[in-house]
Amino acid sequence: MNSTNKPPREAVKAGAHDVIPSARSAWGKYAAGMALALLPFALLFDDPHWVNIIAVTYLMGGLAAAWNIIGGFGGQFSLGHGVFFGIGAYTTASLFIRFGWSPWLTMVPIAALAAGVAMLISWPTFRLRGPFFAIATLAFNEVAFVLANHMESLTGGPRGLMIPFKAGIANMIFSQRWQYAILMFCFVALVIGVSVWLRRSRLGYYLLAVREDEDAARAAGIDVLGTKLRGMALSAGLTSIGGTLFAMYLRYIDPPTIFTLSDIGVKFALLSLIGGIGTVAGPLLGAALIIPFENWLRAEFANSLPGVSLAILGLLMVLAALFMKRGIVGAIESLFKRLQGSKSKDRP
């Protein structure tokens, strides 16, 4: 049982060439990456169909990156992030409909609420390991689904909530699609920015240590539960902000839209897996690949063959789990490594 002596492959690879990236290089890469992410929007600015897809891609990329904080860096495979997404969407919508409170003002307190709920339900669940944790979070998502259907006075029950169209920047309701795209871009820039910071912070290194080996992390003096809880709170808070934006973008929410696993809870994880779990850029790359592809599939097959888009996504998920465990980022890294390797071999 002493297989833990050999360090995980990834750690060796990472340790071999970059120690801790300097702040300048990390933030420089971030700025370049964000500029690149903005490029499709700048090019397709005039096309409302594409601007819509780009806005959703930014949003889902941000949400996947938020999941990645605890799921990727922390290695805790939550399938219940729909709960925090739902808290953001439902609370924002109710407060806006009932009291006319601007989402700009409520967004951050609601995110704090979601982080609190996340810590409350995670505190007992974090003693579960691996698949048991995933199953428990799945059960939380299901409880939330049932409660959202039940508490009609708060959530509108199965009928859902309709947010009246009162355009205006103060209401976070826009008449132009490109305005939403900018909003969603700010969100993904925020979440990826947090990831860049986290990856170089003490908490980030603690999360990685907990992911690689919980017992070793504890032996090294890391407060394992506290680390997981802080990672989860950060992840849930950002997910809730995504829920707020989603509600104001769609202006209609009901339980299936918020809690369907293949569209929300598991989707965040899927996008991260495709892009590269535990990497800073992976979740956004995954979204950039999957969201437009899914849109195309839907448009192509929705009438002739219902379900084809989700069937293909499911198949992609199986293939990624089997052959591309480190996602696009991992594939690119190993490609670079191979190129470098062949170069050094060519030298006399």
């Binding site: 048991f132 428990a136 409880v143 049932v146 039940h150 696993l261 219902p306 084809v308 989700l310 089997l322």
Partner: protein, 296 residues
């Protein structure tokens, strides 16, 4: 009093259904510790198979068990070889891969059936047994009886036969099992096949009760995980009792609290048990770690 008895009866019969759909997962997750989120879809395939055997070959749903269960078992073995085997020691990737299979199977059936619900109709579904004031649906009695018989059979298989002992040995320590001359890979393959066949069998037996839709597996999968974990990991009887608990809780919660909340109530009970005693009610303490520890 009568009311309580009626609700209890409804609950026990419902528990039979939950017990039946959980038996396959009991073997796959409870005993061998493979996370299979596509288990509900195997039940769904069993239901569709039974439907087609009934409409095209005019075979009674209960008889078609003998065709459908081996076919679904075969599908299970293909899944094990192609998807599960390469991910043996990676439970997190098993979650992804089998959830992907769930989406793939469910939506492929949606594309094929175009969302139309099938039903074998009333051929076996109308019989009612009256015991005093109690009315018992005969198909549900059959389900409960089948769940009981299969549980007894599985228990005997795992505890008394060489193959059953091999299965348990492989879960506990792969290397020692291999040293004892057990073919580890083949044991995993066969176990997964049996677990899938049991799901197909459950599907066949449930066709008179449920209408058949592509999403029908979704009704079962979380319930099945709850039943297996609640009753006790690795304990065949635990899952049977877990099924009854879930059924009875659901019946009482639906009757006395609110039908909408009935599944939330047992989800919360499940979560509490999972957190307080991850090995389940009848499982040995620490059973939740077996099979997920590092092995060579």
């Amino acid at each position: 009093m009568d009311q309580i008895l009626t609700v209890l009866t409804v609950g026990i019969l419902l528990g039979g259904i939950y017990g039946l759909v959980s038996i396959g997962l009991n073997l796959i997750f409870g005993v061998v510790r493979i996370v299979n989120f596509a288990q509900g879809e195997l039940v769904m395939f069993g239901m569709y198979g039974t439907y087609f055997a009934y409409t095209h070959l005019h075979i009674h749903p209960y008889l078609s068990v003998f065709i459908v269960a081996p076919l679904v078992g075969l599908l299970g073995m293909v899944i094990q070889r192609l998807v599960i085997q390469p991910l043996t020691s990676e439970p997190n990737m098993q979650i992804f891969a089998t959830f992907g299979l769930l989406m793939f199977f469910q939506n492929t059936m949606l594309a094929v059936s175009r969302g139309e619900a099938y039903s074998v109709g009333s051929m076996a579904g109308t019989g009612v047994l009256e015991l005093g004031d109690l009315k018992l649906s005969s198909v549900r009695l059959v389900t409960l009886g089948a769940a009981t018989l299969i549980t007894i059979g599985l228990h005997l298989f795992l505890s008394r036969t060489m193959a059953g002992r091999a299965i348990r040995a492989v879960t506990q320590d792969k290397r020692a099992a291999r040293a004892m001359g057990i073919n580890v890979e083949r044991t995993f393959l066969i176990t997964f096949g049996i677990g899938a066949a049991l799901a197909g069998m459950a599907g066949a037996l449930l066709t008179p009760i449920y209408s058949i839709t592509p999403a029908v597996g979704g009704n079962f999968i979380l319930a099945a995980f709850a039943v297996v974990v609640l009753g006790g990991l690795g304990s065949v009887w635990g899952a049977y009792i877990g099924g009854l608990i879930v059924g009875i809780v659901e019946a009482f919660a639906g009757f006395y609290i609110d039908p909408v909340l009935r599944s939330a109530v047992w989800f919360i009970i499940f979560l509490i048990v999972l957190i307080v005693r991850p090995a389940g009610l009848l499982g040995q303490a620490g059973a939740e770690e077996v099979g997920f520890r590092e092995q060579h």
